[in-house]
């Protein structure tokens, strides 16, 4: 029961052949070779599978790919240059093994889009759905604050 679904992926029009039970993360990996979104907890709790659909962050491991038809999908791989958030994460050493990092970067961008000057409480709550077993949380907090500052200056 595979169906061809057209959608936009990182700004480009694409097509994929998907079965109803396939998730967005699976299709991104299998059909497009994009591995920045990864399935880890499989339950939408860790954020490693974060993908943007129509500008909204979703858990790609719980999002049926067919539902992305005609949508605008953005992954960590979109964009040519590293942005202020990625720069801040590097400058503040806000990662260790890196497996959760794309999810944190995408969620941080969303946070700052909505709230350009979040306080620590707002940051912790917004990112409470992203887990880091390496526990780089203190560094991530600093990176988000730095990213906010960088964005404001640009």
């Amino acid at each position: 029961m595979r169906r061809t679904i057209p959608f936009r992926l990182n700004g480009e029009p694409v097509e994929a052949q998907v079965a109803p039970h396939e998730t967005l993360v699976e299709v991104l990996q299998e059909s497009f070779g994009l591995y920045g979104a990864r399935e880890s907890c499989g339950q939408g709790l860790c954020g490693c599978c974060t993908v943007l659909v129509n500008g909204t962050a979703v858990s790609g491991c719980l999002y049926l790919a067919v539902l992305a038809e005609h949508s605008d999908v953005q992954t960590i791989e979109s964009g040519e240059q590293p942005d202020a958030v990625q720069e801040a994460f590097v400058e503040r050493s806000a990662f260790q093994c890196g497996f959760c990092t794309p999810g944190f970067v995408l969620m941080t961008r969303q946070l700052l889009d909505e709230n350009p000057d979040p306080d620590e409480d707002a940051i912790r709550h917004y990112l409470s759905g992203n887990l880091c077993r390496c526990a780089a949380y203190p560094e991530i907090l600093e990176a988000v604050k730095l990213a906010a500052k960088k964005r404001r200056q640009r």
């Binding site: 029961m1 939408g44 962050a57 719980l62 999002y63 409470s128």
Partner: protein
């Protein structure tokens, strides 16, 4: 996951008809159902997506009640100025409900129809006297949100029925609070949820998480007689203690709520 058929009806009538099939299940935001399918707990042959039914309205009616379409996302509810002004307890509750990505896709209808007693809105909306409008094979009916729950993961929704709208009465002079207690990490399912709505000195109390469904307490004393079971989040005795403490705190918070 077992392969299944995915339908996307464009009208309520189509959706209801599709849901009458024995192994068909509705999908709203998809978070809860995807979890259950991946765990192998649910293996439907057909999923009926509700997202094209245009049930996303969010408005205040002339009588001051909040009318929310069942497919309104929790995030839309959370960010709504109208909700924040008229029902700030809902806005506050949503802030720690699951996480942002879940709230981005999860819907009010899906949330209420799931029947998991650990969820936050069922006890709160029950205490607020909310009503659900339900469409089904036999037409439309309404039900207090409180009456939706018949047991652990069991609702009074019949085959083919789905929630289309939820109406929450204006608070008026009432004051409300919802407190939950997690006993492991902060981002855990709660061991206990307590919703309190004060109408003057008269409290409406609905307890959840420690009970198998949102449960109204006729009085504070009734708390002692509640049937509570031990689980991963705590023993029955400990949850009883939490109940005593959080009842007191929720009443206090409700009394002092700004609205």
């Amino acid at each position: 996951m077992r392969p299944f058929e995915l339908l996307e009806p464009r009208s309520l009538r189509e959706a209801v008809a599709a849901l009458e099939a024995s192994d068909a299940r509705p999908m709203a935001g998809g978070t809860a159902i995807m979890l259950m399918m991946k765990a192998g707990v649910l293996r439907p042959g057909c999923l009926v997506s509700l997202r094209s039914l245009r049930l996303e309205q969010l408005e205040v009616a002339s009588d001051g009640a909040l009318r929310v379409g069942a497919m309104t996302t929790l995030r839309a509810l959370e960010k709504s100025e109208v909700v924040r002004k008229g029902w700030p307890v809902i806005t506050k509750t949503l802030r720690t409900l699951s996480n942002v990505r879940v709230r981005n896709v999860a819907t009010l209808g899906g949330h209420l129809a799931h029947g998991d007693p650990h969820m936050d809105l069922p006890p709160l909306l029950s205490a607020l006297g909310a009503t659900a409008t339900i469409a089904g094979p036999k037409g439309e009916r309404t039900s207090p949100v409180e009456a939706l729950y018949s047991g652990y993961l069991e609702t009074t929704l019949r085959k083919g029925e789905l929630i289309t709208r939820v109406e929450i009465p204006a608070l008026g002079r009432k004051r409300a609070a919802y407190l939950k207690c997690t006993t492991r990490s902060a981002d855990d399912w709660p061991a206990l949820g307590v919703a309190v709505v004060m109408d003057g000195d008269k409290p409406t109390i609905v307890v959840s998480a420690a009970t198998d469904r949102p449960t109204r307490l006729a009085s504070l004393e009734a708390a002692e007689a509640l049937h509570i079971e031990s689980d991963l989040h705590g023993s029955a005795a400990y949850k009883k203690q939490l109940l005593r403490v959080y009842l007191k705190r929720a009443i206090h918070e409700a009394r002092n709520a700004s609205h």
